[in-house]
Amino acid sequence: MADDYKPPALPAPFTNTRPAPELLTQGAEAHLYKTVSLDPSIPAALKIRPFKPYRHPILDRRLTRQRIIQEARCLAKLVREGVSVPGVLALDWEGQGGDEGGWGGAWLMMEWIDGPVVRVVLEKWEAWMKKNASSLDSAQLQHEEARVKDLLRRIGKTLGALHKAGVVHGDLTTSNLMLRTPPQVSDCGPTGVSMEGEIVLIDFGLASQSMQDEDRAVDLYVLERAIGSTHPRSEPLMEEMVHGYRESHRGATSTLKRLEDVRMRGRKRSMIG
């Protein structure tokens, strides 16, 4: 499947980079690479929004530029507000270079976050529990549940900090939440899955600045749905995320009220042919 795919040429200046940036993922709009930062001893994440040849070039530049700047601005703001997100190291919204010698795509270089995404953490934990939960005694079960609850509460708290800073993520899934590996891990439980470390929010490609309850509630709802569909065992513990969120900031109460409305109506709308 993937072998007939050739990623587009890197924009300037990354044609110089040795060793060449390593392609990690290819999303719809952006390619994510691992490379070094401006300090050769420190790694960095490089997000490239390549030229989209299907779009009119003027429209393409306008959108790509707007979006990469929007993403960088959100990250910059969140760093200033002390919310844990990868910091912006360098940026080029003009994106010269590439194959045609002109517009090759805009790019954003960010701090590299060491650690797994929460999706993987929960998947590993759920897989272990599915196989071995019966071998645990009730104290151990309780302990395992408490660890997941704690993780979800910390996620809620981080989302509260995000919203308090005036940013909504726009695409919250457990793949966009990372767990920064702490210097030492003290508790992996019998499952061997660590849940320690700071929660770091990543991929602000669809983020925007908003203080509206509706936008915030949709953010939470989207994550709830994502957890519900991918992590069934963790879903009953979801209330913990809401608790963590409620305690995080003043505006949380009205957002959570709105969340109830959003849950009721869902994203579903009826339609007219």
Partner: protein, 364 residues
């Protein structure tokens, strides 16, 4: 087995006859005819006029379809009709005809979801096995992918359909509705060169068109490009000096507006389709619905798909634009799994989501 399909959810009434050979060889289209209700320039089609049109044409169309298919009524297994979604009065007029035929000839009724009809016909004609489907018409804008016996909606319009946006702008410009407003916008857009800035509204896999329509209507009014008078100049304008210049400084023309509208809305559609493809990991795209016959949309989609190492499947206007055969095809698939619509339940509904249908005939 033979199915008759009856479609009339919007301004087209279509009758199709489909044969599914008993030996398992590929289904055959025996007849696929339709008649379109065309409203005057500057006007849309109203439900009651459209329903009147359908009532006037339905008997004639069924007769010619049977004649063209060279089948007799005895050979027919089921009567399939569009249950929804669509405009109420036109849907009803065709449902009444289908019911009447079912009672008259003692044939089973099969109510079909219009959108599923498009998808199944698209799959049959193009051979796409499990594509991401972009369904774009005057009434619908959805990005759909199949998963465990449902056609799931990954993204959709948050307000009006893309085709509705195009149709209504055609009215603003008093562009002819014959054969279709979107077709005439496409022709005019071919002369456009200058890209006018319009809102571009994509939210994840959803999109919105009402703001774009308001913005381009306002631009047309501002530059005095709307209305009947200017519509007469469309032919003359292309030869004038003014329209020949490519510089972005000159005043946009009617053609430029059509061009900009197409470039903007189709980019949005390709973008949300690409996001859905990345999400579900599919490399096939199937475009269905009336807007799917637009060649610029097909071109943009194929560039996107090519860059992802995939391909686009599109059908021509016979199957893209609303038709009876797609209703026969989707109805037949359901009929073969034992699905029937009892007379009592043979109602129709304006609202009928694609993901409400249990797709029993697929098990992948």
């Amino acid at each position: 087995m033979i199915a008759i399909g009856m479609e009339g959810s919007a301004n087209k009434i279509g009758v199709g006859i489909m044969l599914h050979p008993k030996d398992g060889s590929p289904p055959k289209v025996l007849a696929n005819i339709r008649h379109t209700y065309v409203s005057p320039p500057g006007e849309g089609f109203l439900p009651k006029d459209t329903a009147r049109h359908h009532r006037a044409w339905v008997v004639k169309l069924v007769r010619s379809a049977l004649k063209e298919a060279r089948v007799s009524v005895e050979d027919v297994d089921c009567i399939c009709f569009t249950k929804g979604p669509g405009m109420g009065a036109p849907l009803q007029s065709v449902a009444v005809a289908a019911r009447m035929m079912s009672l008259l000839w003692a044939k089973a009724l099969v109510g079909v979801n219009h959108c599923v009809g498009h998808i199944e016909m698209g799959r049959l004609i193009t051979g796409a096995t499990n594509p991401v489907v972009l369904y774009v018409s005057g009434g619908n804008t959805q990005v759909i992918a199949y998963s465990s016996q449902r056609y799931r909606i990954f993204g959709e319009t948050l307000d009006i359909a893309v085709g509705n946006c195009l149709d209504r702008f055609a009215r603003t410009l008093h562009i002819s509705n014959d054969p279709a407003p979107g077709y005439n916008i496409e022709q005019l857009a071919k002369q456009g060169k200058q890209l006018v800035d319009l809102p571009y509204v994509v939210k994840g896999m959803d999109c919105s068109f009402s703001g774009i329509l308001a913005a381009i209507d306002a631009l047309a009014a501002k530059w005095g490009l709307d209305g009947e008078e200017r519509a007469r100049e469309d032919v003359a304008e292309t030869t004038s000096e003014e329209a020949q210049g490519e510089g972005s400084g000159r005043k946009p023309s009617r053609a430029d507006l059509c061009f900009s509208l197409q470039e903007t809305v189709y980019s949005m559609l390709v973008e949300i389709t690409e996001r859905a493809m990345a999400h579900v990991g599919s490399k096939q795209v199937l475009i269905v619905g009336g807007v799917g016959s637009n060649e610029r949309l097909q071109e943009m989609m194929s560039i996107m798909a090519r860059d992802r190492g995939g391909s686009v499947y599109a059908t021509d206007e016979r199957f893209c634009i609303d038709n009876g055969i797609m209703i026969a095809q989707a109805g037949m698939l359901a009929y073969q799994t034992g699905f029937r619509t009892p007379l009592k339940e043979s109602t129709c509904t304006q609202r009928f989501r694609t993901d409400e249908v249990f797709v029993e005939w697929r098990d992948d």
